[in-house]
């Protein structure tokens, strides 16, 4: 019997064929709509010149984004400032359309004096947040363009003993604005032992300096063992040691992307050579959407909350009542808290009165 006023869900057994409602098709509907709508993804790459960023991007998306680009000389780079360059391409695979934007940061770390060289980058990310914030709060929200940066691949040079001061400063400036995935660049310069040592070192230093890099979400407890094992391996493998290539070579009877050396051939997609495949799978095949979600739910929300706080404090100072953006007033405290506050107020009043009385008494006594 149904009792009104009670929130209790009735567990119904699995619907049989006769009782088929049909909402099991929801995933398919979502799939269909998303294919029609298309996806977008913004990826930022950052690191010193010569770390293989462009080559890696080409290898990841199996295309050539950087035809005819001009590289600066050492002399021109002495006082170089950081630029932000966007490349947007539309790519399609099995009917699924992806609008991919790659944000390049040429000049980062290349000058002799690199003080605050990450500022143009943080400014760019904030600008995109601000633009989205305005669009979201606007009246006509039909065609909002999401230019927020969903992921930043940071290339760490393999030549050193771990993170350098510029690496630490950059990641600390960005870790609360964007998902950072640190990579060990040009990993074909390290033997397997050296790679392991360097990864351990970098993980240690990331902990030590309190850098918040992108964390893979925990997999659900009802996933199968194989998936869990893969997930565990993936997490223990960070930071990924990657190699990229713009050329196709012949190896073991096949044509693969690789690098040809006199002593052997490095295959980009060979898992025993580098972590490129892991990166690609993670970035594109399994976690692309999660990266977008974290950007929207965490980094953007942080930015938005901060923005609003600043605005309201400014408004209070200026004594203005209207705000340019529709926001709800600060939430009213719930009933319990109000009661508490009232009680405390009364107590305070009573104590004040007692104090006054005592003072009066003393005064009288003196006289």
């Amino acid at each position: 019997p149904n009792q009104t006023g009670r929130n209790r869900s009735h567990t119904v057994g699995k619907l049989t064929e006769k009782q088929y409602v049909g909402f099991a098709t929801l995933p398919n509907q979502v799939h269909r709509k998303s294919v029609k709508k298309g996806f977008d993804f913004t990826l930022m790459v950052a690191g010193e010149s010569g770390m293989g960023k462009s080559t890696l991007v080409n290898s990841l998306f199996l295309t050539d984004l950087y035809k005819d680009r001009k590289l600066l000389n050492a002399e021109e780079r002495i006082n170089q400032t950081v630029e932000i360059i966007k490349h947007t391409v539309d790519i399609e695979e099995k009917g699924v359309k992806l609008k991919l934007t790659i944000v390049d940061t040429p000049g980062f770390g290349d000058a002799v004096n690199n003080n605050e060289c990450w500022k143009p980058i943080t400014d760019y990310i904030d600008q995109q947040f601000e633009q989205y914030f305005r669009d979201e709060s606007g009246l006509n929200r039909k065609n909002i363009q999401d230019n927020r940066v969903h992921c930043c691949l940071y290339f760490i040079p393999p030549f050193g003993h771990g993170l350098r001061p510029v690496d630490v400063e950059f990641m600390k400036a960005l870790h609360e604005k964007v998902n950072i995935i640190p990579l060990i660049a040009k990993a074909d310069c390290l033997t397997p032992n050296e790679i392991k040592k360097l990864k351990d070192r970098i993980r240690e230093e990331i902990d030590k300096f309190g850098i918040k890099v992108y964390q893979f979400p925990e997999c659900d407890s009802d996933e199968d063992e194989e998936f869990k094992q893969l997930d565990k391996e993936l997490k223990e493998c960070t930071p990924f040691a990657v190699i990229g290539s713009n050329t196709v070579v012949e190896a073991r009877g096949q044509r693969v992307r690789g690098r040809l050396y006199p002593w052997g051939i490095v295959e980009v997609e060979n898992q025993s050579h580098c972590d490129f495949v892991k990166l690609r799978n993670m970035l594109i095949r399994s976690h692309m959407h999660d990266l977008k979600d974290v950007t929207c739910d965490v980094h953007y929300e942080n930015y938005r909350a901060q923005c609003i706080q600043e605005m309201t404090s400014k408004l209070a100072q200026d004594n203005r009542m209207e705000s340019p953006i529709p926001i709800l007033p600060l939430s009213t405290p719930d009933v319990d808290t109000e009661k508490l506050i009232k009680m405390k107020d009364e107590e305070l009043k009573r104590m004040q009165e007692m104090l006054n009385k005592m003072q009066q008494q003393m005064h009288d006594k003196e006289q």
């Binding site: 010569g50 002799v112 030549f159 510029v166 052997g264």
Partner: protein
């Protein structure tokens, strides 16, 4: 004491004589060699490159020894130089090898001053040698020469071009030391990329006027090999102290999943070329160039700074003696002047202080006088008052006495009189 002029008769023509038999002075080179072998040789290498680029490993590989080295940290506040001296011996030749490491190079966020400690170190070694040379009692044959004979500049294998820091640093160093640029960790660059990279680097060096060391081509015995090596600069090297079995030999190599990079395989890297050029062929030339070119340039600049010239305003050659005397006079004159100044300053100061003291004394005196006067005035006032009071007392006593006598002698005086008297008394 100037030497007196001696008449010299000289025959200006030089004549070639033919010898009648074997005299034996063809052993001179051997004598020189055996002397230098007994003396021992000394060689100083400066390694400039970012932390972790492979400087220590390359030194170990070049000299086939394990020099002690701890891994450097990336978080040094600045660049500092760490020289270490080792005594090596090969057959009967002794080598005193000093390796100077640049710790912390390339790690700071602001690298504008990174080149300074390096330049300072090189200059200091030159200065020390110059001081020894200028001594009265000197022992140059015994002197441990710490001047840098070669600077190996380690370029990171980015594959694009030099880094801005590399360009700036090499420009500051090229007039002070022999520079050989090398591409470090070269097993990350493929052959075609390497070719382009080398060309780019050399063209950047040339277009910015950086002078690197050229292997000498004036001696026919080595000119050919040196000329061909000049074309291979910068050398792309790989270092390793670990041995890997290749075929049936154990060679120094790096083992990767995709193959083995052999350090001494000339088709893998230029390590053999570097060793050949640096150690086996041109070591002595490097020492010579350091002394004859770089050190002489330093010495000339330094002496010019100190005021020495080779010719006086009339273009007559100065003798060092005259110059010394002139300098000495100047110096003593300077000293005297300074002494005078100091003395004057001292005298002035004393005068000032004296004047101050006098003023203070005068002030105190005045105050004292003033106080004294005040005191006296007060005293006078008090005395006056006292006198006044005494008078009053006397007057009062008199009147009292008078009143008593009156009341005694005329006890029944009429009230009128009393009243009168009273009135009088009351006035």
């Amino acid at each position: 004491m100037a030497a007196t002029d001696v008449d010299v008769f000289s025959n200006e023509e030089k004549r070639n004589l033919s010898l009648g038999g074997h005299v034996g002075f063809d052993s001179l080179p051997e004598q020189l060699v055996s002397k230098s072998v007994t003396q021992g040789f000394c060689f100083n290498i400066l390694c400039v490159g970012e932390t972790g680029i492979g400087k220590s490993t390359l030194m170990n590989t070049l000299f086939n020894t394990m020099f002690e080295n701890e891994e450097a940290s990336h978080y040094q506040n600045g660049v500092y130089l760490r020289p270490r001296t080792y005594d090596l011996q090969e057959s009967n030749v002794r080598l005193k090898l000093t390796i100077v490491d640049t710790v912390g190079f390339g790690d700071q966020i602001n690298k504008e001053d990174s080149y300074k400690p390096i330049v300072d170190y090189i200059d200091t070694q030159f200065e020390n040698y110059l001081q020894e040379e200028l001594k009265i009692k000197r022992s140059l044959f015994n002197y441990h020469d710490t001047r840098i004979h070669i600077c190996l500049y380690f370029i990171a294998p980015t594959g694009h071009s030099l880094k801005s820091l590399d360009l700036v640093t090499m420009k500051k160093l090229d007039s002070k030391v022999n520079i050989i640029p090398i591409i470090a960790k070269a097993d990350t660059i493929s052959k075609s990329e390497l070719h382009k990279f080398k060309i780019k680097i050399m063209s950047e060096l040339v277009s910015n006027g950086v002078q690197i060391y050229q292997f000498p081509t004036d001696d026919e015995t080595v000119s050919e090999i040196n000329a061909s090596m000049n074309a291979h600069l910068p050398f792309a090297v790989v270092g390793s102290v670990e041995e890997v079995k290749v075929g049936n030999k154990a060679v120094r190599a790096r083992q990767y999943p995709w193959g083995v990079v052999q350090v001494e395989n000339e088709s893998h890297c230029d390590f053999v070329k570097l060793r050949e050029m640096l150690i086996r062929v041109n070591m002595e030339d490097l020492r010579e160039q350091t002394h004859a070119r770089h050190y002489e340039l330093y010495r000339r600049c330094k002496l010019e700074e100190m005021g020495f010239k080779d010719t006086d305003p009339d273009s007559e050659p100065f003798s060092l003696q005259e110059t010394y005397e002139a300098k000495r006079k100047e110096f003593l004159g300077d000293l005297q002047r300074k002494e005078e100044e100091m003395r004057q300053m001292f005298v002035n100061k004393v005068k000032e202080t004296e004047a101050e003291l006098k003023d203070k004394e005068r002030e105190l005196h005045e105050k004292f006088e003033q106080l004294k006067r005040m005191h006296q005035e007060e005293k006078k006032k008090v005395e006056d008052k006292r006198g006044y009071l005494e008078e009053e007392m006397n007057a009062f006593n008199k009147r009292k006495a008078a009143a008593e006598t009156l009341s005694l002698s005329q006890p029944v005086k009429k009230d009128k009189d009393k009243k009168k008297h009273k009135v009088q008394l009351d006035c």
